[in-house]
């Protein structure tokens, strides 16, 4: 009974989000699209942090590489073809993930965090200093790609609502794919590797291969998010690959809750709204100008009080209630 109730609730939520643009102005639709893209991006990192136990501080590299790839390759004169641009952008991100993953998965713990940061900074400086990506000013995507076979246009993303639904669809597909993946044998294996890698090696799993494939898949999904981000504003620049971006999406996964897949989505929603809220004069008046201060304090407090993140909150409360009940002797056993 409980699971059907939950299914109905999720379906209702999806329909509500799908119909949202009818009721809001252009700005807030744009904000929701941004949230959906970051949710997809955070889901891709969740596959690494939550499922495989690999904490990467360089995940924005794949996000940025796909965004640059689609912008560099789409024609100046008209919209590119989605069938070609999306797979190629994702493949470009996966290629970089394969090369850097094969190297960085040789290290562990804090060194792994630092090596992923190093490889992301490498990609950042390639776009920041050289002319390939138009330097620090970035480059423009003049026309959003469209889904076209021959000259039959199935899906024209230029229409805001179509692009909105397309982004929502991509995010939901990614969530479903990851849920399926985690229930599969591959998912069971990387769960085992996260909990106890030596045990899995002694059982017969070549754990390096599993971790590398998980790293490449996560890179590819981050590439999808990067593609959508480039299509959203039609503008890409090196800051997409900066370490602050990797830090932000890692924050979304941890604050959302790395224990559950959908924790990443909650993290993306809450953090983007927090950022937006702290900046609006309406809510914070004069303090809005210094939103970094309130946002920074909020991060410190939230990470401190929510070790398992928002998704883990019900469990955390239940555990505390359970402990409290055990601590004080219940009156009945006099």
């Amino acid at each position: 009974m409980r699971s059907t109730l939950r299914a109905i609730f999720i379906l209702a939520l999806i329909c509500a989000v799908a119909l949202l643009p009818m009721f809001t102005t252009g700005y807030y639709t744009g904000l929701v699209v941004k949230i959906l893209i970051y949710a997809l991006f955070a889901l891709s990192l969740q596959l690494l942090v939550g499922c495989a136990g690999l904490v990467s501080l360089g995940h924005a590299a794949f996000f940025g590489i796909a965004a640059y790839y689609v912008t560099l390759l789409s024609p100046q004169s008209g919209p590119g073809n989605l069938f070609i641009l999306l797979p190629c952008a994702v493949l470009a991100a996966m290629a970089y993930a394969l090369v850097t993953g094969a190297l960085s998965l040789r290290t562990k713990g804090i060194y792994f965090i630092m090596v992923t940061l190093a490889f992301a900074q490498m990609a950042y400086y390639v776009f920041h200093d050289t002319a390939v990506g138009g330097g620090t000013d970035g480059i423009y995507l003049y026309f959003r790609p469209e889904l076209r076979i021959g000259d039959w246009v199935m899906l024209n993303l230029d229409d805001q609502y179509v692009f909105y639904l397309f982004t929502l669809g991509c995010m939901l597909l990614t969530w479903a794919f990851l849920a399926m993946l985690m229930r599969s044998r591959f998912g069971a294996a990387i769960t085992g590797i996260r909990v106890n890698e030596p045990r899995m090696r002694s059982a017969g799993y070549s754990t390096f291969k599993y971790k590398l494939v998980a790293y490449v898949v996560a890179g590819g999904l981050a590439g999808v998010a990067g593609f959508l981000y480039a299509a959203k504003d039609g503008y890409v620049n090196p800051e997409l690959l900066a370490w602050e971006q990797s830090g932000l999406v890692l924050l979304m996964v941890i604050l959302g809750g790395s224990g559950r897949l959908w924790g990443a989505i909650i993290g993306a929603v809450v953090l983007t709204l927090l950022q937006e809220g702290f900046q609006s004069q309406a809510l914070f008046g004069e303090l809005a100008k210094n939103w970094h201060l309130t946002f920074g304090l909020a991060i410190i407090i939230l990470v401190a009080i929510l070790p398992q993140g928002l998704a883990g909150l019900p469990e955390q409360l239940r555990a505390r209630r359970h402990a409290a009940k055990k601590a004080k002797p219940s009156p009945t056993t006099a």
């Binding site: 102005t25 700005y27 330097g135 620090t136 000013d137 970035g138 620049n237 800051e239």
Partner: protein
Amino acid sequence: MKHTLSRTALAAVLAFSAGSAMATVKVGFMLPYSGTYAALGEAIENGFKLYVQEQGGKLAGQDIEYFKVDDESNPAKGPENANRLIKRDEVDILVGTVHSGVAMALAKAAKDSDTTLIIPNAGADAITGPLCSKGVFRSSFSNWQPGYAMGPVAAEKGYKTAVTISWNYAAGKESTDGFKESFEKNGGKVIKHLTLPFPNVEFQPLLTEIASLKPDVVFTFFAGGGAVKFVQDYAAAGLRDSIPLVGSGFLTDGTLKAQGESAQGLLTTLHYADGLDTPRDNAFREAYTKNFPNLPPDVYAVQGYDAAQMLAAGLKAVNGDVSKKDAMREAISNATIDSPRGTFTLSKAGNPVQDFYLREVQGDQNKDIGIAVKDLADPARGCKL
């Protein structure tokens, strides 16, 4: 009791309906209020508001309502900040910005949402080139212009070889390309172009390289805090006496107080200078110094002032009805602006056609010592208007 209530309600309705004719014009400022260009953003806003104040607080009978967003000179936040003004505050006119990268994002957002945009500084050639549109105007210059104006001056002084140096971003590259084009047309040769990432100010390695290349002259493009540091380091490295330094006017505009002795005698070219001694300019400088005592009436204030004049010209033509976009833009495009720098008109791509003065730093002023190039128009390469 009920009776009076209905009369006040009626009055309120009347005021409200009348108000729409009297509706305010919403102007969105997207300027840098933090970072290396903070002072420039402030000067532009002061210049704009000074002109509106001089017209009695109204342009063509319309009150002006201001919305402000700090773009932090960060291209990454360009589209987001632009949408905050366009979609959330739904401004009628956008005024911004200083940094070329951010200005390009702003121009694209304005073009996509068909909002009129007046650019008070950023000289990115693309804005009046491939990105040009009938709703985008500029009250300042294209990066190409000041650079191009210095070429003939340097050639005249007999310099044969030159090194150009600037930040590795659009404004730097286009300005030094402009100089290279005119300098080489007049027989000179640019032997090397040195760059460093924006807003890095670690000039030491590059100054060392300039000394080893020993060119006849060094042309540079820096502005704001970067310009202050570069001129000081150039002097500290002892290059000022051995290798003459020239640049576009932004090297010394609004920064002379901070640069002090190290900037004396520097030659720059710009569409504005101190000591023009025309009645229009003196009136502007007097009004500006009265309202903003400790701020110099520099080129940024003039550009902000002229942006307001362009808007006023547009609004007069449609007597304040902002919704008639095409008519307003037509009027702005054809307007002749009586600017403190001297009257100028707009090219079809929306860029000022104006004189460029040669200036020399004397004390804390960029003294005008003659016209470098008369009525220089931007070639607007790539604009299909």
